[in-house]
């Protein structure tokens, strides 16, 4: 992998983080879940296209490892679940856990079935 490709991945990572910050700023309650589901869909499409030989390795790394990887956040998701837990908002905790995971799995399966 060339230095240019690595720089492109890092730039995509920066872009993904900025996009996440903007979405969470606009949608403070649901933004983390939204970016996690959208980013998972992007990664699923990348994996499906790369698996089918329709996307080059550099493009897959830029979109998958850079953009989707940085757009989504595990630590932010855990922080939201922990916050719901701490404030004893049971329904919030269930929604924070279930909604992004189930939606993420659904979009992944859809992308893999549709594109492979």
């Amino acid at each position: 992998m060339s230095a240019t490709a690595v720089l492109a991945v890092l730039a995509a990572g920066a872009g993904g983080a900025v996009l996440r910050a903007v979405v969470v700023g606009v949608l403070p309650r649901t933004g983390t879940a939204v970016v996690n589901v959208v980013g998972t869909a992007v990664l699923a499409v990348v994996v499906a296209l790369a698996g089918a030989g329709r996307l080059g390795s550099t493009a897959a790394a830029v979109w998958g490892l850079g953009l989707a990887g940085s757009l989504t956040t595990f630590s932010g998701w855990v922080a939201r679940v922990a916050d719901g837990w701490r404030t004893a908002r049971g329904r919030t905790v269930v929604l924070e856990v279930a909604a992004p995971v189930l939606s993420g799995v659904a979009v992944t399966v859809l992308a893999l079935v549709a594109l492979s």
């Binding site: 900025v18 996440r20 699923a44 790394a61 940085s70 595990f74």
Partner: protein, 161 residues
């Protein structure tokens, strides 16, 4: 805007915040790339166990950072860069979901050419996501406690203001 500061939720990010987030996001992505080495970059993933380690470590760091920042205005200014950018970019939800789906293949329990998620694959995927969440929550709690303890010591010596 910040994932580590729910009290600041809803505040639109400033241009300065976004520059910090971009810089942190690039560094977080670089650290994730480094954790993947020597796996080929094109795989767009760390493998399930390295990913688990990276996500758990990031959750611990975010817990510590958020509780330290609650005591230190100077550190709070750096939250967009360190929390939203660096730790948000280092940890990743999308790879966890995809890694969970491929775990059955990776462990040889599901035929490599099988596109269908079978019983063992489903159980493994659910266990991986559930285990990641539990470990992440434990790490976040441990980080929060660590940050509080450290913040108290540093605050007592007057180093945070």
């Amino acid at each position: 805007m910040d994932i580590a500061r729910p009290d600041r939720a809803g505040r639109a990010p400033t241009r300065r915040d976004l520059v910090g987030v971009a810089a942190g996001g690039a560094v977080g992505t670089a650290l994730r790339l480094a954790a993947a080495a020597p796996l080929p970059l094109a795989l767009a993933g760390l493998g399930p166990w390295r990913l688990l380690a990276v996500n758990t470590t990031g959750s611990l760091a975010l817990g510590a950072l958020a509780s330290l920042a609650a005591r230190s205005p100077r550190l709070a200014v750096a939250l967009p860069t360190l929390a939203t950018g660096l730790l948000g970019g280092l940890t990743t939800f999308s790879s966890m979901i995809v890694a969970a789906g491929r775990l059955g293949h990776d462990l040889g329990l599901v035929a490599p050419d099988s596109a269908r998620m079978t019983g063992p694959g489903l159980v493994l995927a659910a266990a991986y996501v559930g285990g990641s969440l539990v470990l992440g929550l434990l790490a976040h709690a441990a980080g929060t406690r660590l940050g509080r303890t450290t913040g108290r010591h540093v605050g007592r010596s007057g180093g945070t203001r």
